[in-house]
């Protein structure tokens, strides 16, 4: 039965509906695959086998009667950032040890209401801060992909490294993920999967552990563009419990997938042609434009002049919001507590022991840029630059651009414990150089596998859309997916 794990989410859903197999069979196939792979790849921080089988049995009862929701019986992985009632929810941090939510996040509740089955909770960078999944308290995730003729362990990207690795290695039909600066799109690109960050406000943030509230958006990682559309459909929608949730009807995303790109105008921003860009990334980008043109799209050069300032502005805004959001981890309400000589010492010892180095670094930067005398020079200036970044995109869209094509990442997946990245935090931050602009402007962005580097590792292209126009991204993403020649499945070595 293990071949059930190889089906796309759409095919699995259809097979369940047609009673070709049961959800218990599919769920057991995934649970066996996880049991075999997790010691080597480490994408799951908790496997909820009993709950998964209970949910699968309940789905099978509905399916037997010809009933059930749009995801009835489909086994999913859930990023550890989503609150799941009574199940492991620790944002891959030591400071949330033993935390078991008394409530369910809006997004996961919607998925269960639609019939999905939870396999377990997925590894990630601690509090979603990282681009390699190496800051997790639960250890790094290993990318299912290896370079040709090499057995070196590579990172799956981050922060949604567990979501990407589990999806790529057939350890879930698809996964939830979140993206604050590129945390869905970069790991999707590193693992040959599809990841979409929808428009800010499309998916509820209620019950998702907060990192930088004005940038955080949830979205799916899936093996195909169609699967990503099906997942996003079930994750989206207005939620009165999230004050930034947008009260807009959710379109039929899956219906847009085969719409094509005839008459669509694709913008090519010259500022994304960075100095020292590897030739293979440049080539892939040009290839992507050719594929879109061949299907009837028009390609036009555009300028987004403030692009280079997005990453530095992000490294003020995101840590500032994080320092505020993470103030709640104080050893009183939940999680870890270390004893101290008085209450202040208790706070300081708890947070020193509970947070990892990257989280501490960002909380400290955030504290500094918000402190008296520096607020205007750093935070207010960064928010002004953010206005200019958003204005660049608005200008392009007003001039008739429907979507923008860029590389997803500056390189393919790199090695675990990369010395250059460890020595200089900025090197790691540069992973998000193509993706972070999208969060700063609140726009939707999708990463789709498009080619391979000289070592046979997957590379992705990113499409950026107008606010609330995820449909064009699915349509254009599908054109790239059809043209890429396939082969975005890792060779099983684990």
């Amino acid at each position: 039965m293990s071949d059930l794990t190889r089906l796309s989410l759409a095919a699995l859903r259809d097979g369940l509906k047609a009673k070709e197999f049961t959800s218990v069979e599919a769920t057991d196939a995934y649970l066996s695959a996880i049991e075999a792979a997790n010691p080597k790849l480490n994408p799951y921080v908790a496997v909820t086998s009993d709950q998964a089988r209970d949910m699968a049995r309940a789905s099978d009862e509905k399916l037997q009667k010809g009933k059930g929701g749009p995801l009835e019986g489909v086994p999913l992985g859930i990023k550890d950032l989503f609150a799941t009632k009574g199940a492991h929810t620790q944002a891959a941090s030591h400071i949330l040890d033993h935390f078991l939510p008394e409530y369910e996040s809006t997004i996961t509740q919607q998925l269960w209401n639609h019939g999905a089955v939870m396999l377990g909770k997925l590894n990630m960078d601690e509090f979603a801060m990282g681009s390699s999944n190496e800051t997790s308290y639960y250890g790094p995730v290993v990318n299912p992909w290896r370079a040709e003729n090499s057995n070196k362990d590579l990172v799956p990207g981050g922060s949604s490294g567990g979501s990407a690795a589990a999806t790529s290695a057939w350890l879930c039909a698809a996964a939830t993920a979140t993206d604050t600066g590129g945390s869905i799109r970069q790991p999707a690109a590193f693992t040959g999967t599809v990841g979409i960050k929808p428009t800010y406000g499309r998916c509820s943030r209620w019950g998702v552990v907060a990192f930088a509230s004005s940038l955080d958006q949830a979205g799916p990682i899936a093996r195909t563009v169609e699967d990503a559309a099906i997942m996003l459909q079930s994750m989206s929608g207005f939620d009165p419990k999230d004050s930034t949730s947008v009260d807009l009807a959710v379109p039929d995303f899956a219906a847009a997938v085969e719409r094509g790109v005839k008459g669509v105008t694709i913008g090519v921003p010259k500022e994304y042609r960075m100095d020292g860009m590897p030739a293979e990334i440049e080539k892939l980008w040009t290839q992507g434009l050719e594929w879109l043109k061949a299907e009837g799209a028009t390609v036009r050069d555009i300028s987004l002049p403030h692009t280079k300032y997005a990453l530095p502005a992000y490294y003020i805004v995101a840590p500032a919001e994080a320092s505020s959001n993470l103030a709640r981890y104080d050893g009183v309400k939940y999680g870890l507590r270390k004893t101290g000589k008085d209450i202040t010492d208790m706070y300081e010892q708890t947070r020193a022991a509970g947070f990892g180095r990257e989280v501490k670094r960002r909380v400290m930067i955030g504290t500094y840029v918000l402190s008296a005398g520096y607020y205007d020079a750093y935070y207010v200036r960064a928010q002004k630059v953010r206005t200019l970044i958003k204005r660049d995109f608005e200008q392009a869209f007003n001039d008739g651009i429907d979507a923008i094509l860029t590389p997803a990442t500056p390189s393919a997946a790199f090695g675990i414990a990369d010395q250059d990245m460890a020595a200089d935090p900025i090197k790691m931050y540069l992973n998000d150089v193509f993706t972070v602009t999208v969060n700063m402007a609140g726009l939707p962005g999708i990463a789709v596998p498009a080619g391979k580097d000289t070592n046979g590792l997957p590379l992705g292209l990113q499409l950026i859309g107008k606010p609330f126009d995820e449909e064009t991204l699915f349509a254009a993403g599908r054109v790239i997916e059809k043209a890429n020649g396939g082969g975005f499945e890792p060779k099983v070595w684990w």
Binding site: E102, Y200, R361, T367, R381, T387
Partner: protein
């Protein structure tokens, strides 16, 4: 702008993160590397530009002023490291 060792200690206190004396120097280096990186924002002409407050054009929704939640003290303290009679317990604050 760059930070010195005393500033690192002060930020640690403000952030309520204990910093061992032998870590001050490495934090100082890392923070200065990040602050140096964000310095390029000073090149941008932001004269007359409004700082962003909401990335999607929207005003905060209001709701009726009525109680919609509550009566769940047990659930609220359920994850506390230390609690008694539905109160969070902390080290003595007032002598």
């Amino acid at each position: 702008m760059s930070v010195d060792a005393e500033t690192v200690r002060r930020i640690g206190r403000l952030a309520r993160i204990h910093i061992d004396e032998d870590q001050v120097e490495s934090y100082r280096t890392e923070l200065n590397s990040i602050l140096g990186f964000v310095e390029q924002l000073n090149e941008v002409d932001v004269e007359g530009v409004e700082p962003m407050t909401s990335v999607m054009p929207m005003s905060l929704r209001r709701r009726e002023d009525k109680v919609t939640d509550g009566d769940q003290a047990e659930k609220i303290v359920a994850n506390a490291p230390l609690s008694e009679d539905n109160f969070f317990m902390v080290p003595k604050v007032v002598e």
